[in-house]
């Protein structure tokens, strides 16, 4: 008896064919999508046999067969606006289930900054060359199954262009709303951000959901900083509690550019963030910071790669983790200093706070240096709340529960405090505390 294995790839193939019919494009886009689909057919979902996925098991997700069907959700502008911040009320770009929705977006404060449907931009005479040059370059799909899948299903997404010498005053917020109605849907948001020479901007990404359905977000965001560009990038992952989130952020830094990123991971039952920064032009600098707050039955995995390919670049990394209940986290941070990348300055730190004996974190900071005139340091720590600190608070009349919340808040604040947008900081302070089922109103 021969059993035909219901390989998920088969379902993806038919979805892929109908997507291509509905959204045909020019030859180079078709080629990219086809070769990406081919790669996905070969690679499939990552498994725990893959060293990079050792602690994060997508087997049940692969079985659940999340299908990348674009479901058009009915949202009102008011629905969408609820996810913006006072600072971004007029610079709020909305994607629903991976599809750019201009009618739900607010763009009055964006000035000369271009926001367009990425799929349309590939054939837009003004931008097609830029898109063709930069799309699917840093986020390579040749060895990443889920990135390949995302690339194969390019049918909307977002293209952001910050033109030469433009200094965007208002932060630009991109909100990814998942609203699938039914369960077991995959959304595949795809974004390309190009910051041209000597531009500067603040970018906020926010992943949120309406409803409690289970879904799979597979997002890929490529960030290209041209020479002298400056970008502050805040990424807020606040997916629904039944969600699986696999996100890739890959940045390429031009000469003398500055990339300052802070990734906050709060949501999803299983979350994975791959962040990579490639420094192959001299004089660039990056901060690749983050915080993961992992409650009961949550799993959060961050894989980071900072690649110093040329001399005179600086990188700074601080990732902090707070784990409660049986929460699990993984931090894997690679810093490569390639041969010839002299005068590199690289600092990497990962600190974890375990609030419960059932919580577990696997941390692996890795520094690989192939140059001899560099300044590099890295370290990882896993600990509990400090008893001396708790007693100090108690000795001032603060009961132990409140004291624990305050110390946890303080631990997170080193990362949250970096975010220059006040209402986000406030929201995160509250969210961190709520997530830990703690009560605390911290202001002042």
């Amino acid at each position: 008896m021969v059993t035909e294995l219901a390989k998920p790839q088969n379902n993806y193939q038919s979805a892929f064919q109908s997507m291509r019919k509905a959204k045909p494009s020019v030859a180079w886009v078709e080629l990219v999508r086809e070769s990406a689909m081919d790669r996905f057919e070969v690679l499939g979902y990552p498994t725990v046999k893959d060293e990079e996925w050792k602690y994060t098991n997508l087997a049940s997700a692969a079985k659940e067969n999340f299908l990348p069907l674009a479901v058009r959700a009915d949202l009102t502008v008011e629905d969408a606006n609820r996810f913006s911040y006072p600072e971004t009320a007029a610079s709020h770009v909305v994607l629903v289930n991976g599809e750019f929705r201009p009618e739900l977006s607010q763009t009055n404060d964006l000035g000369d900054v271009v926001v367009l449907d990425l799929f349309n931009a590939t054939t837009d005479a003004r931008y097609s060359k830029i898109v063709r040059d930069d799309l699917a370059r840093s986020a390579t799909y040749h060895d990443q199954g889920l990135t390949a899948l995302n690339t194969a299903f390019l049918q909307s997404g977002l293209f952001v262009l910050i033109p030469k010498n433009v200094a965007l005053k208002t932060p630009l917020q991109i909100t990814y709303i998942t609203d699938t109605g039914a369960s077991s849907q995959m959304t595949l948001p795809r974004v390309l951000v190009v910051a041209e020479e000597n531009s500067s901007a603040k970018l906020i990404e926010s992943f949120v959901a309406r409803g409690e359905q289970s879904y799979f977000t597979n997002s890929v965001v490529e960030v290209v900083l041209k020479d002298g560009a400056r970008l502050q990038h805040v990424r807020l992952q606040r997916e629904g509690r039944n969600a699986i989130h696999v996100g890739t952020t890959s940045a390429e830094l031009g000469r003398g550019s500055s990339y300052n990123s802070t990734a906050i991971n709060l949501g999803a039952k299983l979350a994975r963030h791959d962040v990579s920064v490639v420094m192959d032009h001299e004089g660039s600098e990056c901060w690749v910071d983050g915080l993961y707050v992992v409650g009961p039955d949550q799993h959060s995995d961050t894989h980071s790669l900072i690649d110093h390919k040329v001399p005179y670049c600086n990188s700074h990394q601080l990732y902090k983790g707070i784990l409660d209940g049986n929460g699990r986290a993984v931090f894997n941070g690679k810093v490569f200093v390639r041969e010839g990348a002299q005068k590199t300055d690289a600092l990497q730190t990962n600190k974890n706070l375990l609030l419960s004996p059932q919580a577990r974190v696997d941390t692996k900071p890795q520094l690989e240096i192939y140059a001899d005139d560099v300044k590099c340091a890295h370290g990882a720590a896993v600990g509990q709340l400090d008893q001396d600190e708790l007693f100090y608070l108690q000795a001032r009349g603060i009961n132990p529960d409140l004291g624990k919340s305050l110390l946890t808040y303080g631990f997170a604040e080193e990362v949250i405090g970096k975010i220059e947008i006040e209402s986000i900081r406030k929201e995160l302070d509250e969210a961190v505390m709520n997530q830990l089922h703690a009560r605390l109103e911290v202001q002042g």
Binding site: Y392, Q394, A395, R396, L402, L406, G410, E413, V442, G444
Partner: protein, 259 residues
Amino acid sequence: MLEIRNLHAAIDGNEILKGLDLTIKKGEVHAIMGPNGSGKSTLAKVLAGHPDYEVTAGEVLYEGRNLLDMAPDERAREGVFMAFQYPIEIPGVSNAQFLRLAYNEKQKHFGRDELDPLEFKDLLKERAKVVEMDASFMTRSVNEGFSGGEKKRNEILQMAVLEPKLAVLDETDSGLDIDALRVVAGGVNQLQGPENAIIVVTHYQRLLNYIVPDFVHVLANGRIVREGGKELALELEEKGYDWIVKADLQGSGAAAPAN
């Protein structure tokens, strides 16, 4: 206000306090002096409720209530305050947040209104004058990156905000230069009044030039071996502790049974 009777306390199984008696009335300033290892700091920590110290015998009454039955945070809300010898750093929590939380916990405890950040800012500004502290200290993380003197001033600021009935200053003078000492002592003196009491734990007489005690108690081998007025401190400064300790060992002290 405070009545300590036959107090025995141990850390890691080692008995440090071996039958200490002390009575403190409101309005009084008491100095506890003694050589290193005599149990001075242990007494301060036991009063604050430090979990590493175990009370093995005796009792402590605070305003008629059994102090040892109260959790450390309850003691604090009820007006017992210990200024730490080594104040703890709390990264990521600003001084203002910390102090407002502590202040409001006490307000709640007594059923009084809590202060919002703006109201509290005014109060803090007023109290900070007591220790001549700059406003920039309020937005910095608690004690983080503070110099030794700044940490001690911060302790007295907390005292000024929380207005304790009983303040225990644990070696507050250690590590202070003369200017910081003057500021800290000046702060303590402003907070002292007829309704509260202060215990100054110190090795040296120096601080007592600024905070003048009504009573001086000398602690040796876990008990009080000598008591007197402020002039006893001067005598100790001149002659050291050896003569008292020796006299105690030769006298009844060493042989005195625990009960």
